[in-house]
């Protein structure tokens, strides 16, 4: 039987070669279908991984606590705003909880910052001296502020440092925020930024000690986000429940905070990713459907063009099944070549995207295998109709046809 199949394959190649342009055009449908699927998924996966990297900003033993409010301060990415329900009291209460090593609060403050240049409404974050212990981020120049530095110190994100001082390492320089002067103690290395991330862009942030903020405001600032670092050996998942329970109790039973265990992404970005995936699937379905219809058209034309040939083949003894198989093989070969070309082209396109754009597409191997498979199945299914038409032809009628 294998020899017959090889025979069919040869026949298919011959007839495809005989109508090169048309075969190429048809193949193009499949190629584009496969390419679009692989590339879009690769881009989506790249974005996903970038967001994932952002989540890895914090250590594996760090919980993120956020108030469940809809407000968002000026797109800063720190939730809460004026209606933030987390307070310093909550932070203190958590600090007393067993299993928790430390609690690092983040508070966003409003106001412009002036140094060599003036920057309106940057992200001013008041935090404690131990922020650097929960943040997986290296300092490029200087160091994070310590209690020894006093209260009037600041650490800058690299972008903001550049905007304020037009210098990458403005250590020891002074900046003014709400009438107070702060000495720059350090500059962070660039944070990985991702367009779809809902995390705050810390590259545009200035960090000041919590106590300094307290002095400026005259009261304890509202907390927009807290990092809770677990003691070594503590079950982080269990701890996240404890923290959640504690906060609910402290707020009189209202579940107005969410505790994100390590690795969990913001719920909104999850939804974005789901939508992205759905969009990809829809695009893939459309692209592959178009490719399939292309195959069907081509095969129908091919059958009509070769009615006489089909008649002859039947006259010399081809059964319906053999004619069917011949045309199916043709459709299959067309799809196979199209799928392979599509995979190769999409791999190279992804490579190009990586080199020449800021996107970081990641090839998902499962998709790179499944997409061409589905393309082939589509092609063969759509190839069935014309093949059946050919197989059921009456030999005499077909022979008479010129």
């Amino acid at each position: 039987m294998t020899s017959i199949r090889r025979g069919y394959l040869r026949l298919a190649m011959q007839s495809l070669r005989a109508s090169r342009t048309r075969s190429f055009m048809t193949m193009l449908g499949i190629v584009i279908g496969v390419m679009s699927v692989i590339i879009v998924v690769a881009i989506g996966e790249g974005v996903k991984q970038q967001i994932g990297n952002q989540a890895a900003r914090y250590g594996k033993d760090v919980l993120v606590v956020r108030p469940d409010t809809s407000g968002d301060i000026g797109g800063s990415g720190l939730p809460g705003g004026t209606a933030s329900l987390l307070t310093n009291t909550d932070a203190e209460a958590l600090r007393q909880t067993p299993g928790i090593e430390r609690v690092v609060p983040l508070s966003a403050l409003k106001g412009s910052v002036t140094a060599d240049n003036r920057v309106d409404n940057p992200l001013v974050i008041a935090t404690t001296y131990d922020l650097d212990t929960v943040l997986n981020q290296k300092i490029a120049y200087g160091g994070f502020f310590t209690p020894a530095d006093g209260e009037q110190v600041a650490v800058l994100g690299p972008d903001l440092a550049h905007q304020l001082f037009e210098d990458t390492a403005p250590l020891g320089e002074k900046l003014t925020f709400r009438g107070k002067q702060f000495v720059v103690a350090g500059v962070f290395k660039p944070f990985l930024a991702s367009p779809l991330s809902l995390e705050a862009n810390y590259n545009q942030a200035v960090f000041i000690p919590y106590i300094a903020a307290q002095n400026i405001l005259g009261t304890t600032p509202q907390i927009n986000q807290m990092f809770v670092k677990a003691k070594p050996g503590t079950d982080v998942q269990a701890l996240s429940k404890t923290v959640s329970q504690k906060l609910t109790d402290a707020h009189g039973g209202a579940q107005d905070t969410s505790v994100l265990p390590p690795g969990a992404k913001g719920s909104v970005s999850d939804r974005v990713l789901q939508l992205l995936t759905l969009m990809t699937i829809c695009m893939a379905a459309v692209a592959l459907g178009v490719g399939g219809v292309g195959i069907m058209n081509m095969m129908l034309v091919s059958v009509t063009e070769r009615i006489h040939e089909i008649g002859l083949r039947k006259a010399i003894g081809a059964t319906n099944q053999q004619i069917l198989r011949q045309f199916m093989t043709e459709a299959f070969v067309l799809c196979l070549i199209g799928a392979v070309v599509g995979v190769v082209l999409s791999l190279s396109t992804v490579g190009m995207l990586k080199l020449y754009t800021s996107l970081q597409p990641v090839i998902v191997w499962q998709v790179a295998v499944i997409a061409p498979l589905i393309a082939m199945i589509t092609g063969v299914i759509f190839g069935t109709i014309p093949a059946l038409k050919a197989a059921r032809m009456d030999p005499i009628e077909a022979l008479r046809h010129e």
Binding site: Q14, H308, L312, A315, I316, G317, T319, I396
Partner: protein, 290 residues
């Protein structure tokens, strides 16, 4: 037991008032080893009869026994398999596939039989050698002359070692020289023991036949045994009754045919078969003369 046995076979097309009869209760039996020439005017049902015998078609009524087996009610696929194994077709328009080489064309029936490539090719090569085309194995049909093309087609018909060769006007598209070549080949095949049935308009070619069947209006009008090398008596009548054309007739063109008609109506028994035969013959003769 006859190789072919047709019993009151009819083939009707259309329904009701539009019904046309292509074959009208034809009964015919052909023995193994015969070489039958089928003659008759266009539309007399020759091709339908060939299709019927070649199992391309099935009768509306009647029975067909091939080698003692009733084949008139078989499914399309069963018929295809019998065609593949027992029948070789030769067509007027050669019907080689232009994309395939001579060798591949000849090997095609074996492909459907499921033979491996090497066996297919060696058998096809042997068959091409038999028809004297072994040096043209890798030529495409468009690179071959008409006679060569038909030789390749004959090789294809023979490659399955069929019991029956059906040739529908095998020389219809060929000049005299090529016709002779092709008929010699068919004759050799016949001498080797095959049963050959061929349709022709040329009475000269009945020399190659052992039996001549004349068809008209879907029925067998006349059926005679002849000796090899002899023109069938009926065909001879047709041939030699052609009136010589005068210069005047040449000027008149087609109307010379009209002149012949009245004499046909005088002898209604024999005449109808003459018409096409005459035409072809006259053309052939002229060609030969030129």
């Amino acid at each position: 037991m006859s190789l072919i046995e047709l019993k009151d076979v009819s083939k009707l097309y259309g329904f009701g008032d539009a019904t046309s009869v292509a074959l009208d209760e034809v009964s015919l039996s052909i023995e193994k080893g015969e070489c039958v020439a089928v003659m008759g005017p266009s539309g007399s049902g020759k091709s339908t009869l060939m299709n019927m015998i070649g199992l391309l078609d099935h009768p509306t009524h009647g029975d067909y026994l091939l080698a003692g087996k009733r084949v008139s009610r078989l499914s399309a696929n069963r018929r295809a398999r019998i065609r593949r194994d027992k029948i070789g077709f030769i067509f007027q328009s050669f019907n080689l596939l232009g994309r395939l080489t001579a060798l591949e064309n000849v090997a095609l029936p074996l492909l459907y039989k499921g033979l491996p490539t090497s066996k297919r090719n060696s058998a096809a090569r042997a068959m091409l050698e038999r028809v004297g085309m072994h040096d043209r194995c890798y030529y495409y049909p468009r690179q071959l002359s008409g006679g060569q093309t038909q030789s390749v087609a004959i090789a294809r018909a023979l490659v399955n070692d069929p019991e029956l060769i059906i040739a529908d006007e095998p020389t219809g598209n060929l000049d005299t020289e090529s016709s002779r070549l092709v008929m010699e080949l068919l004759s050799e095949i016949h001498k080797a023991g095959n049963t050959v049935i061929f349709v022709t308009h040329n009475p000269e070619l009945t020399r190659y036949a052992t039996r001549v069947v004349y068809m008209q209006d879907g029925a067998v009008k006349y059926d005679e045994q002849t000796k090899l090398g002899e023109v069938g008596s009926y065909a001879r009548n047709a041939m030699y009754k052609i009136p010589e054309t005068t210069e005047e007739d040449d000027l008149a063109g087609v109307s010379v045919l009209m002149k012949v008609r009245p004499s046909e109506t005088e002898s209604p028994k024999k005449a109808p078969a003459k018409k096409p035969a005459k035409r072809t013959t006259r053309k052939k003769k002229r060609k030969a003369a030129a």
